[in-house]
Amino acid sequence: MITNEKINHFIDKIPPAPKALQATIMLLNSGELVKAAQIAETDLALKAYLKNIVNKPIYGFRNEVSEISQIFGILGVSSSQQTVYNYMMTLLSPDKWILFNLKATSFHELQAKLSRRWKQILEHLNIDDIEMESAITLLPASIIVSEALFSDKKADVDLLRSVNNLDLNTILNRLCGLDLFDICEKISQKWDMPPKIAQIVQASSGIKPASDEELDKLGKWMHLLLFYELSQPMFIEAGLNDFIEFQIDYVGDIYDDFATLMEIA
């Protein structure tokens, strides 16, 4: 169904991060918001994406924000970098979703929600780290990879899952010996993302705890956050709720804290 050759082909096809984006991220990393904005202005697609995403209700701005320098100024260094990484992920997303009932707008919505909630979580945990904040941007890559690998096998996947409750991650792992999150890590390497990002996202799979205690804890928060968002009607209807298996025991020790933070009654 899925072979290692197919996975390698997918990874080979991932383009390197565009130069303008690399430069923007580098400048953001060194705190040069104005220069970063000037470079970002030259990429019209990035500009449109940034405008679209920060004006979503989850960001809570009263007036429309339209200038890149204004956007970076409001978001600050960490969130600006996070948003640029989110844009990079969209470069991988398909023109038309087949496996999942998604559209570009709903995928952007998921990215925005995950990013804002992740920032809230890091603030709650008193973590102020630009790499940690960007880690959430790699998580939706697992959805993009699922779509890329399984979209032409939808009927087979449906048939298989009608007799056995296997999630896509397990199917891939059993067939090829590596899973969606391993492929996410390869994407992050290709795009020179800091290694810590891949480590947290690997832990967030719920089945590969990180050896570093802090990263593992963040993996738990990210796993729970993912299922909090995938329990929203629009993402359930998109078929995302069970693309990977929710590891309820893995998040047992942080659930109460999460529920308080998200005001879950």
């Binding site: 169904m1 899925i2 072979t3 009927a155 087979d156 449906d158 048939l159 298989l160 899952r161 009608s162 007799v163 056995n164 409750n165 296997l166 397990t170 199917i171 059993r174 067939l175 090829c176 729970l224 299922f227 909090y228 995938l230 329990s231 929203q232 009607p233 629009m234 359930i236 209807e237 709720n241 069970d242 298996e245 929710f246 309820i248 998040v251 659930y255 529920a259 879950i264 009654a265």
Partner: protein
């Protein structure tokens, strides 16, 4: 959302958070009805991977449950939860719990009509005395040995004894159960269990579609386990007479076992005998007598005058059956399967001990049965994706082989539908190497 159906139980498994806003996105009444059509006698929602739920969320499930149970006469409820979730549900519904709660799917299977394994030693405890009794009666009716504990202390003490019980039931609640006629397959005979008063309701409780499908795929012996029948009225008499007439068209036999006529007119027995129904005192009188089984048609699932023959339509469609099988094996193993010459010949299997098999029947525009026969090692390889680990557990391999042939059946159905040939598929059967020989 689609349910996973196993052993007559359809289970929906939502993940994450359940509340009034999202339950409708997880599950619709159409999803439940589609599952009920698969001849299940239970529809359950698993809470195993649900980290949060509230009353509003569960209420939506319960409303759907109530509707489906009333229409389909099946058991509905929740399963796979811990003590905390059990207490939360009890707290929400208190004395208004009209659905069932099973702490695990294994416990639910004990109360399913399509039970596979009987004679389980079941330790049982519920705070509610009437629940203890209700569960014990149901378990006993299903052929298990319930051991009821009256107090929590007694229960904990008994539970702590290692390997003393096959299954321990706690944190469970038997709501209004489905009242379908229990069905099981023994060898090539189908056994229906009926009890108490048989009246006009038998027409609703008996799954006539399942019965007809069984006739279509070649079953020829149907036994009604009637030990617990108290009496039968004229409506039930007419129902069984009609059933016997339709069975006669297939040269099939219907038997009653253990039926007494103390409170039923003896003339009913004569009427039923006239329509071809046979009566036996004990189940062993039939199942323990190989010659009688052969005579009644249970030695062969496809014996009798309606024995299927390979015809032109079937031969024309044969490549599609092979394609479906090849595609499934390739999908499951990531290996390349090579088609060799297609031949038509009688099944002759050498080295039975080393082989296992599974089959699935199909009926509709064309009827027949697909059987996959594997050397054990190849079967293990073919099932690797579904099992996920190395195993020599024959029961697990057979169960998985049943899933595999189910996938083949599903693929065949799709391929035939593309040719405008409509078929439905039956439940799969499996054949371990040294018994239940596939040629039979």
């Amino acid at each position: 959302m689609r349910a996973l159906v196993k052993n007559g139980i359809g289970v929906f498994s939502p993940q994450g958070f359940l509340d009034g806003n999202n339950v409708g996105a997880f599950l619709s009444i159409e999803d439940i009805e589609a599952t009920a059509k698969l001849n299940v006698d239970m529809v359950l929602v698993s809470l195993k991977k649900v980290v949060f739920f509230n009353r509003n969320g569960l209420d939506i499930f319960v409303k759907m449950f109530t509707k489906v149970r009333a229409e389909k006469h099946i058991t509905v409820g929740f399963c796979d939860y811990d003590e905390k979730k059990f207490k939360a549900i009890n707290n929400f519904y208190k004395n208004d719990t009209n659905f069932s709660l099973f702490a695990t799917q294994e416990i639910a299977a004990l109360f399913s009509s399509s039970f596979k394994n009987q004679n389980k030693n079941v330790l049982l405890y519920s705070e509610d005395k009437s629940q203890r009794s209700a569960m014990a009666i149901e378990l006993h009716d299903s052929g298990h040995n319930p051991i009821i504990t009256q107090t929590e202390e007694e229960f904990e003490k008994k539970k702590s004894v290692e390997n003393a019980y096959d299954i321990v039931i706690e944190n469970s609640y038997l709501g209004q159960t489905g009242n379908n006629v229990a069905t099981r397959v023994t060898g090539n005979a189908i056994i229906y269990t009926v009890s108490s008063f048989l009246d006009t309701e038998i027409g609703n409780m008996f799954n006539i579609a399942y019965h007809n499908n069984s006739l279509n795929v070649g079953f020829r012996l149907f036994i009604f386990d009637a030990y617990k029948v108290i009496s039968m009225n004229v409506h039930a008499l007419n129902f069984f007479s009609r059933l016997a007439s339709s069975a006669a068209e297939y040269n099939a036999t219907i038997c009653f076992v253990g039926m007494t006529f103390e409170k039923t007119p003896i003339a009913f027995k004569e009427t039923l005998e006239d329509s071809g129904i046979m009566f036996y005192d004990q189940m062993d009188d039939i199942l323990g007598n190989k010659e009688l089984l052969a005579e009644l048609g249970a030695s062969s699932a496809d014996s009798g005058s309606n024995r299927r023959v390979i015809n032109k339509v079937m031969v024309t469609e044969l490549p599609r059956f092979i394609d479906a099988t090849v595609a499934t094996i390739e999908m499951m193993t990531n290996a390349t399967a090579i088609k060799e010459a297609a031949q038509v010949h009688e099944i002759q299997i050498e080295n039975h001990e080393d082989k296992i098999a599974s089959s699935i029947g199909f009926y509709g525009d064309i009827d027949g049965m697909v059987m996959l026969i594997f050397p054990k090692d190849i079967a293990k390889k073919a099932c690797q994706l579904l099992i996920g680990e190395e195993t020599n557990d024959l029961e697990m391999i057979l169960d998985t082989l049943a899933e595999l042939v189910n996938i083949v059946g599903g693929k065949i159905k799709t391929l035939l539908a593309d040719q405008h040939i409509s078929v439905d598929i039956t439940l799969p059967r499996t054949y371990p190497g040294n018994k239940g020989r596939a040629e039979s």
